[in-house]
């Protein structure tokens, strides 16, 4: 019998029986404290298991979920870590659930979304079959620190992996392109088609405008969003990678950011698992987005569209996506500052809320609703077009009551606010 697993499973059972929370991290915590090499030992015991790690600021959940759906169509047995449990203890917990008490895992593929900061530590414990690096944006600087630091840590951590490891990364992102170029791994790049990009000035939410090699300002021939696009360094010649753009594949979700997620998953499926385009297309067409990510909910007969919006790049993409749908959207903005949201709300000033100037109405709530209210006021949106509610339920009811028939209420919420609002809309907690 495998002691850490048996104990972990017992703990899970106890915590479920007595309803002590989802128990998604502490079975793993216990397994790791009994055996520091728990993850390493377990993967050695299961050499058939292909482990895929997905890291990046935005899009991890959508990309892993989509990959799983397509692989299952191909009859692979696949498991993922639970949403949010993306630190090392969450990964270990996931192994505890899926292994039998002898440590045997009867799955073919493990798909793990990984917290940006935890990737280096997890790579000390696990040798993955493939890694997807999606993107890197400023996010919760109080918790994650600066994006350059994360990029450096990633670069170091990748050096220790065997050469045959697949690295699937974003050729439109200068820093990830640089990491790919520097690594000795089997690298392939995804991106989006040039036709989906345009030539505009740098937006404000950018992090990498200077050449990662020689620190000269990069020339952008075209941009997709944030600091991504087609670029070259006028001094040292560093340039955009040739990318796979999967132009024939549909994007049933909205926004360029989801096209990136789809292309990342597709490239891995193609290169790592030999899945053909037809099967990928079928998976995408039938894809049901993860909770809170472009989720459609009917609440008291009203159409609600919920978009997790957690940092400047993600918020800007959500705003673009809803404007594509509705030029005068009815919007509910929810801003919290709890640990999973980041305690510093300064970042809302890096978001182009000015784009909401033609909104039908803007309703605001959340722990830091007044900070959001001030932000909206300074977009020159008149007092008659926005309102703040301290109580979330009230905000939802009032915002929904403003809807005409056929109109949709677009809810843009930070992480913990998204969970709160979902609880109210669905009447129960789903994780």
């Amino acid at each position: 019998m495998h002691i850490p697993i048996a104990l972990g499973k017992a703990i899970t059972k106890v915590s479920q029986t007595f309803n002590l929370g989802s128990g998604s991290t502490w079975p793993g915590e216990i397994a790791l404290s009994l055996d520091a090499n728990f993850l390493n030992n377990l993967s050695k015991k299961n050499p058939h298991l292909k482990i895929v790690l997905v890291a990046g600021t935005n899009g991890k959940t959508t990309t892993t979920k989509l990959t799983q759906e397509v692989l299952e169509r191909q009859n692979y047995r696949v498991f993922r870590n639970e949403a949010g449990a993306n630190l090392i203890n969450g990964i270990a917990s996931s192994f505890v659930y899926r292994a039998d008490i002898f440590g045997k895992i009867s799955y073919d593929v493990a798909l793990f979304e990984i917290d940006e900061n935890s990737l280096p530590r997890i790579l000390e414990h696990i040798t993955p079959f493939a890694i997807i690096l999606l993107n890197l944006f400023r996010d919760q600087l109080d918790r994650y620190g600066e994006v350059n630091t994360i990029a450096e840590k990633w670069q170091e951590a990748l050096k220790k992996l065997p050469k045959e490891t697949l690295l699937v990364t974003n050729g439109d992102d200068p820093m990830l392109r640089f990491i790919g170029e520097k690594s000795n791994l089997h690298v392939s790049y995804f991106g989006i088609d040039e036709k989906l990009m345009d030539k505009k000035n740098a937006p404000h939410d950018v992090d990498f405008l200077y050449c990662p090699k020689c620190k000269t300002k990069l020339e952008f021939i075209k941009r997709s969003y944030s600091h991504m696009g087609i670029y070259k360094c006028p001094k040292c010649g560093f340039r955009h990678a040739k990318t796979s753009t999967f132009n024939s594949l549909p994007n049933p979700m909205f926004g360029l950011y989801n096209k990136y997620n789809i292309n990342a998953a597709s490239l891995l499926l193609q290169n790592g698992f030999g899945v053909n385009l037809k099967t990928i297309e079928l998976g995408i067409t039938n894809f049901d987005p993860a909770f809170g990510r472009q989720e459609r909910i009917i609440y008291k007969g009203k159409n609600i569209f919920l978009l997790l919006s957690k940092n400047p790049a993600s918020f800007n993409q959500s705003i673009q996506a809803i404007i594509e749908q509705d030029k005068n959207p009815n919007v509910l903005l929810l801003l919290n500052d709890r640990i999973p949201d980041g305690r510093d709300v300064s970042w809302i000033w890096d978001v182009e809320f000015e784009e909401l100037k033609n909104a039908y109405y803007v309703t605001i709530s959340g722990d830091r609703a007044y900070d959001m209210g001030v932000r909206i006021k300074y977009c020159d949106i008149p007092d008659s077009k926005f309102q703040i509610h301290d109580i979330l339920t009230e905000a939802i009811i009032v915002a929904a009551s403003r809807l005409e028939t056929d109109q949709t209420l677009y809810i843009l919420a930070t992480y913990s606010a998204m969970l709160d609002v979902r609880k109210i809309l669905k009447g129960r907690k789903i994780l």
Binding site: D142, H204, Y210, V345, S346, W349, D371, R375
Partner: protein, 261 residues
Amino acid sequence: MKAKNLFPKTYNLTIGWLYPELMSTYGDRGNIIVLQKRCEWRNINVRIEKISPDTEYQILDTCDLFFMGGAQDTQQEIVNHDLFGKKGSALKKKIEQGTPGLFICGAYQFLGKYYKTADGKILEGLKIFPSYTENPGENVNRLIGNIIIEPNSSTYNLKPKTYIVGFENHGGRTYLEDKSMTFATVKKGSGNNGKDKTEGIMYKNSIGTYLHGPILPKNPEIADWLIEKAVEVKYGEKIELEPLDDSLEQKAKDVVVKRNS
């Protein structure tokens, strides 16, 4: 939101935004938006001059108010390189002449005498502010969290008991050579160094501070003070800005104060 123009003439202000692409990581752009809107709402003409490494140093001479935000290390290196030279001297001259300015976090540190890095390296500063900053090392915690300060009332006209709120996130500890120059006293949080209760510096008409948040949206009285000073220095006339309805800003401030007391 517009206030009437009660001024007998039109004022024109140029705000010099130092390195918007490089030094603007923590939503510090909000400070520029607030300065711009609060001028416009009073019918003061305002122009934003973005200063980048390609900008000629003479441009700094045309600015009536400066702003510079915080940055990440790599970006800061590019800026430091650019400011040692004619641009730095031009900025120093303007600040010494009384042109008002707001310098946040990394910018505040860089205007001081030096910055001692976590591994003990000394990086020269611009030597405008009589202050210096030391990073106590990688294994000492950064100072992170909501911060509430009370401005040093002798430095400028604020109503008594006005609190300033923001969010700080810094590894370096800053020390003032003359503590009477402190911008504010720490009520909650760490401030300059987590020890002596000082926060920021007030040098001539320029403010150096660790407050992100950003600082001006929730503390519009400081924005107005900077605008009044800019007009005063440029036109040689003392003006009093028409008050605006700041009830929303006050509520946002109250949330932070209430939660942290």
